[in-house]
Amino acid sequence: MTKVITKFTRNLPHWQPRVTPVDLKEASEEQLDALQVTPSNTKVSEYVLTLAHDVESLKVRSPLFNAIMYDKGGMSRAERELGALGASMVNHCIYCAAVHAARHAQLEKSTDVTDKLFRDGAKADLSERDRAIFDFAVALSEAPSQAGPAHMDALKSAGLDEAEVLDLILSAALFGWANRLMHVLGDPVRLPEAAV
C-alpha cells in the first residue's frame, strides 16, 4: 500500500500520477522529440510522461522553467526557490514544496528558513528580506489581486532591485503553473520499502 503525504516535508516523496502516463514504447515522434529520449531510454519520470500527453505545452514549458529558475543575473537562485516555495505552500503542492525547500536548503547550506516555514507556516520568523519575498509570493499565489503596492514597498525596503523583483514575479508565477500540474494530476506518496 502507498500512503499519500499530506504534510510539508523536505524528504522528497514519490509522485504517483492520477492519469495513465504516455507509454514510452508507444510514444509518437513528436513526443520522443519533446522528451529528448530514444525509445530505449527508460529513465523518463512518470511526471514528464504524464505531461507528454500535451506535447506542444511540454515542449515550451521545460526551457521556460529552466530559464526562470536558473538563468544568470537578477535574483539569487535560493531566493527564486523561496518564491517557488511560497506558491507551493499556498497551493498545498507537497511535492513541489519538498523539491524547492530541499533546493533552498542546499543552496543556502542551511535548513533554518525552511524548517521555520514548515513548522510555523506563513507567519514564521524570517529575515526582513526573506519575509518580503515570501509574503509577496504568497499574496500573488492566493489571488493576483491580493498582491499590492505595499508588497512592492516591502521588497524595495528590503533592498531588492527591479531585476530581482522581476525574477521573483516570474518564479512565484511559474509555480502557479507547476503546482496546477503536480498537485492536480498526481499524489505525493511514500512507496513501501520493497518497491523503492
Binding site: D153, V165, G176, L181
Partner: protein
Amino acid sequence: MALDTNALRHAGIAPDGGSAAAVEGRAAIFEMTQAAEDAVLRPKDEGPWSHELRVALAARIATLNGEADLAAQYADGACAFADLADPQNDGAAQGLAEVVAFMDKVAIDTRNVVAADISGLQAAGVADADIVRLAELNAFLAYQIRVIAGLRLMKGAFA
C-alpha cells in the same frame, strides 16, 4: 525593444517606458511565455478542446482572477462558447458541466483539488490525455495572469 507579447501588453510595459530595461534582460523568458500561450490556446492538435473553447475557458479564468481586459481579449475568439467566459454559467448547456467545474476549482481553489476531481472527469468520459490538456491550459493561465499582475505592480513601484 522588439518584444511584443500579450503579457507585456496587458501589464502596460511599453518598449521605451518604465521597467522596459528589466524586462529586456529577460527577453527570452517573455518570448517563451508567448510561445506557451500559443501552445495552450492555439495548439496544432486541439484534441476535443477547440481553440474557441480554450479561449472561452481562458476568459473565464481571467475573469475569476479580476483581469477584465485580458478576459475580454480572450472572449473575443470564443464564438459559440462565449457563454462559458462568464463564471455565472456552469457549462451544463454546452454539456461541459464537469469540465467547467474542474477548471474553476483548479483556477481558484487549487489546494483543495483531490483525486476525486480527476476520477470525476474520467467518469464523465474525458480521456486522460484530455485531462492533461485541461490542466496545462489552466496552469499556464495561472502563470500568465500572475506575471501580468506582478509586472503591473513592479512598473508602478519602480517608475
